[in-house]
Amino acid sequence: MASGNSVMCLLADPEGKPFGNPLYLPQNVGPSELNILVNNLQNNDEKFPYAFYVNDKELLGQLGAYLLENNVSVEQVLKIVCQPQAVFRVRPVTRCSATITGHTEAVLSVSFSPDGQHLASGSGDTTVRFWDLNTQTPLHTCKGHKNWVLCISWSPDGKQLVSGDKDGHISLWDPNDGKANGSPMNGHKKWITSLSWEPSHLQTPSRRFASASKDGDVRIWDSMLRKCVMCLTGHTLAVTCVKWSGEGLIYSSSQDCTIKVWETSQGKLIRELKGHGHWVNTLALSTEYVLRTGPYDYRTYQFSSSDEMKEAALTRYNAAKRDSPERLVSGSDDFTMFLWEPSINKHPKARMTGHQQLVNHVYFSPDGRWIASASFDKSVKLWNGSTGEFVATFRGHVGPVYQISWSADSRLLLSGSKDSTLKIWDMRTRKLREDLPGHADEVFSVDWSPDGKKVASGGKDRVLKLWMA
């Protein structure tokens, strides 16, 4: 049958723009042949791997088999969406390579530096500790806070670490020798809930960062001058999360059910995003991973000058953002999430419902395709990153899921929960890939290193666990 042998196909990119004219493809092509075809069409110098989707379902076998299974008519033009995937592949971690004690109280936050060379953790025993990744032992113990260290954040150039505590004091630390850069900075009256640095493509070396607190303000600090430059007030209740976007805006979410958009030169309120019915717990930006890792990617870790770093950060940022505006997703206590395009519109783009308990943490995948949400209803849900449509649910945890983290190639998702286990979920099969038990008590914080080699997790049992493949 002549018509059964070839199909009219139109290859398109994730935003919908076609790569060329529709062409006839024989039915026995599979993903590998399509890969070669698309790379030739795009005239790519490097061969990128692609994933192909027809009607939002991934094409895994031959085209003909797919058509038979789904009874797709061959008379219409078949639209195949080609998603570029990361060139490098991260292997899932399977074993706990080290359990490092050191903290005398629960570990509250764990974070890898953007270049993946340093690991820092903040704890309820008021210290920030740096850990050596090569020997898997403690490196420095930084004393200076007088109360629990609630959040830590690395600057995108990897040169500084800032930590906020339960009294509202903020300290800066140098990762190489573990010394504080001066005494703690005061300003907030209640505890710090979130910290976020200015992206490195806007300024290198990193100077400014924003802090959110329970007292309802967001303050912008300068790390060189060591003082508060601006104070953005407006929220009536605690600010739960603050994010500095790549477009130079600051987004802050609060318990008063709103999200406010601020501009950073004068500290004026630009927009207010209303829609949630209860506390907004968490925010995530589509370019968040790129902003966090700054100029570093899996190839280069050394830069000769700050201008070079700024340029590298800018190219990475533009590649991740493509042409569409930045998207923001917010998770709330009202069991739903909203997808916004805050620089354009104050109305949400999509409302993502489905969770049965409050949403604690949302995170865009590094390539911006997926949104993952962790909720207290023991499940992790996967949503489409551009439209907000629901894709899959990952069930397996027996306790509320606290934090999630993506691997750098967006193929694996890690979740840590109150039931003391970490679980790795595969994006291709949409199933559980690895189960990582071992913690004796709740897991409060997880992080995947940007080079994809290690995972660090800390929790109530006071030990830091390093996992490797």
Partner: protein, 212 residues
């Protein structure tokens, strides 16, 4: 009258002066760092602390070998047979007295079918059969309504254990899957032992305390 007004003014002035001097005075900050550190996203939430993971399995294995378990009620009142059973007379002239009816709470299990009535010696009335128990966690001090899986040991004797009689001090096994406990190896715990703490035949319900 003016004296009173002036007195009131002086008092207010003294108070404000004291407040101002307090601000400039340097006071030693006492570090009261509380226990039980929780991350920022849990700070405003009033969550009950959940049960800790099962304690060391080696300790448990050692205990099992010794056959001795620490239970909250080590001693129970011994129950006589004529208190536990009531004699049922049967037969045409009601002279046969070999049947007994249990007068205490029992658990029979989901797949239970009676023996043929002519031959059953021990009758467990359905009104005294229970499937759920109110189990209290000793550390969290909260009570859950959990399904009973089986009767492990009745201290009054092995015959009562095999009949499934639950009196005060009986160790039963309950279904704890809704508590979300996980072993150190990562497996989900779904059954745990609990000890009955009340007299179910007097109260109409079974109250037990979880053995952690």
């Amino acid at each position: 009258m003016f004296a009173k007004k002036r007195y009131a003014e002086k008092a207010v002035m003294k108070k404000t002066l004291a407040m101002h001097s307090e601000k400039s005075k340097r006071r030693k900050v006492d570090d009261n760092v509380q226990e039980g550190a929780i991350p920022a996203y849990l700070l405003d939430r009033d969550e009950t602390t959940r049960a800790k993971v099962l304690s060391n399995t080696i300790k448990q294995k050692r205990k099992e070998k010794a056959g001795k378990w620490e239970v909250p009620l080590p001693k129970v009142r011994p129950i006589a047979e004529d208190e536990m059973f009531r004699v049922i007379r049967s037969g045409k002239r009601k002279t046969k007295q070999w049947k007994r009816m249990v007068t205490k709470a029992t658990f029979v299990g989901p797949g239970f079918t009676r023996k043929p009535p002519k031959y059953e010696r021990f009758i467990r009335p359905s009104g005294l059969r229970f499937t759920k128990a109110h189990v209290t966690h000793p550390e969290l001090k909260c009570t859950f309504n959990l399904d009973i899986i089986g009767v492990k040991k009745n201290p009054n004797g092995p015959m009562y254990t095999s009949l499934g009689v639950m009196t005060k001090g009986t160790v039963i096994e309950v279904n704890v899957s809704e508590l979300g406990l996980v072993t150190p190896a990562g497996k989900v715990v779904w059954g745990k032992y609990a000890q009955v703490t009340n007299n179910p035949e007097n109260d109409g319900c079974i109250n037990a305390v979880l053995l952690v």
